[in-house]
Symmetry: C2
Subunit: 444 residues, 2 copies
Amino acid sequence: MTLSCDAVTQGQTDLDREAIVPEPPVGDVTQAVLEVARRAKLAARSLANATRATKDAALVAMADALVASADEIVAANALDLERGRDGGMAAGLLDRLALDPARIASIADALRTVAGLPDPVGEVVRGSTLPNGLRLRQIRVPMGVVGMIYEARPNVTVDATGLAIKSGNAVVLRGGSAAQSGNEVIVRVLGRALESLDLPADLVQSIDAYGRPGAVALMHARGLVDVLVPRGGADLIRTVVRESTVPVIETGVGNCHVYVDATADLEAALPIVLNAKTQRVGVCNAAETLLVHEAVADAFLPTALAALAAAEVTVHGDERTVAAGDGVLVATETDWETEYLAPEIAVRVVADLDEAIDHIRTYSSGHTEAILTRDLPSSERFAAEIDSAAIMINASTRFTDGGEFGLGAELGISTQKLHARGPMGLGELTTTKWIVNGDNHIRP
Amino acid sequence: MTLSCDAVTQGQTDLDREAIVPEPPVGDVTQAVLEVARRAKLAARSLANATRATKDAALVAMADALVASADEIVAANALDLERGRDGGMAAGLLDRLALDPARIASIADALRTVAGLPDPVGEVVRGSTLPNGLRLRQIRVPMGVVGMIYEARPNVTVDATGLAIKSGNAVVLRGGSAAQSGNEVIVRVLGRALESLDLPADLVQSIDAYGRPGAVALMHARGLVDVLVPRGGADLIRTVVRESTVPVIETGVGNCHVYVDATADLEAALPIVLNAKTQRVGVCNAAETLLVHEAVADAFLPTALAALAAAEVTVHGDERTVAAGDGVLVATETDWETEYLAPEIAVRVVADLDEAIDHIRTYSSGHTEAILTRDLPSSERFAAEIDSAAIMINASTRFTDGGEFGLGAELGISTQKLHARGPMGLGELTTTKWIVNGDNHIRP
């Protein structure tokens, strides 16, 4: 399973727009959402010390229930699709929103995969006996209540719930108005599955019915919600970061760079650049800017530009790049800053490694940067001086992914430095607790 | 060294008051503070890959410079003290603010202690070779720029700088107007010491001159400041949490509980309760509420209340507690919620372990709770079901401390769950970076 940034498109948030459904008064909404969070916190207690066997059984029961309720889910999803078509939703987004029995089966399978992963809870992270005889253990425990704010992707509803439950947490979901009908049924189905195992249905709750004010209330439920993970376009993430008093893990925005060094193997460099840019364009680990050392610009750029053109990639280049290929547009400052998430790339010739590092440090979103080089000191300086979550040395940026990294599951890719950086697995949905055993110790 | 919550008093923040110095227009302040943060970010690059030897030399040079400049620092501090006295500052706060050569020597020694600690940077946290041959390492790297917002304690200026530099970070300090003159000199002395080793003085900068709007600008310097650590009273911490878009680590508020179980060794329980409440009253790991199982209430309470009275501790009790001792005040809801930080305690008789756990889960700030018991299942349930940073089993709450836990240094005690929980050492001022070595790998 991966909740990676697949096909995230910027500007898809409806947090800044009017919701489609009528909304109750804001004060009532706040109280209602806080009540949801309180119930989640209470429900989380029942899972905090649950055995792995209990949690895995819950995941399998949820998977079975989704498959058994496929017709009901597809019918609700049809309402969302109809509303989307009426509202002029783009074809790509409609496709992302659409569910059919095969997709539901695949979403259910992802839950079974998570059931097969090791349980992060209970791990002893550190431990020692202190000089005074106190026995100290730092153990991994669930966060408590995880909030998710995301957009129009019903699979995230299930994936996020699976990861939260497996790591012992309750989840409060805000999936956006576009997927509201389908999500409502999915959440009900998942809750019933939990109840069938005598677990509280409140472990998975949606606040979609409370619209945008509900999302804002969730962002201010500090003390009840332990962490908030926004998943979606840059606008949504910015809004959540700005508004939230609940601690946020920022995910997903990837203005990723590939730097072709003076000593790069140019034959190998070309497929890496193409893979990083074109293997999948709408994802956060796709390359958005190509930097080329001027010593190899003449040898590399014409071929690279031709190959990008053949792959129907629009190129925005600096002066030397424009001169090196046909149909290259003139890059502006905006291009260096842009995460295209589209068959577009910015290309710049740099004087040396320093200029490449400076460019990346200036414009990168801190996700993933690649250097293609045969020079060991260059690779080491690049890895040391670039301040991003992942550094690729002679490999495509596309490998920054929880699945690829062997984490088994991925809740997102953190581009902040606090708590989690890079692909987040189940462990990142936990915190720790110190347990100290004494023999009636008092502090002198 | 510890930056623990010693003698923190609630309501000491001047973030919500007018600053004493006149302030420039807000727009200018914001630009000035962002410029400070930008310089800090640039300076941090010079330290990110510095060897431990370089960083330790910087700490020793700073310690030497403080001692050599003691007269200058004391003279500046005298201005702060005079302003404080004129403004009616309480005697305890004046004492906390005061510097003399002996205190400066002790602050300098703390820097030398940090120099002796292991360097967290460079540790390989995880690593493996993936099935496709990619070599993966997750290594510990500095955060970058650490912001500190604190109050009227000049030693924090030095301690925070020492911890930040040792872990490879730049620091931006906002120490509050009450200590402004002394802090200004201290920061200048520390910067000169860094420059004497060809390190940038911008590694330690103060924004005290920009008053309250400067502090607010720092809270919004997301992207330039990587983490903000507020240190001080509950009001200050609340303000920073509410205002900040920079990720915050919440520290220090400790409404700690001691629960005397039915099977507790009552002779041992009494000194633990007294130690937890009275060994030092103004600290976050001091006990604020005592819960007593009703089976031992008659045997324990009269003695405990007499001992607390003898120690001049004011007791706010529930009905049974009031009946069990002389001079016990009637506890209100507020008492269960209050972190007294004073010789005061709330006392309640509970029916059983469940009621004790429920009480703590309702009122605790999630810092430290102790159970005194001889019953193994009770101790295990307490440790599993209490959702706090530290659980003490037959030991005083006062042991929750970076120094006591053997972390060597402490930046504060985190009461949140993200990134750090409990005492924070040097490692908590770092993040990680994934470095992936390939052989021209592309993603299939």
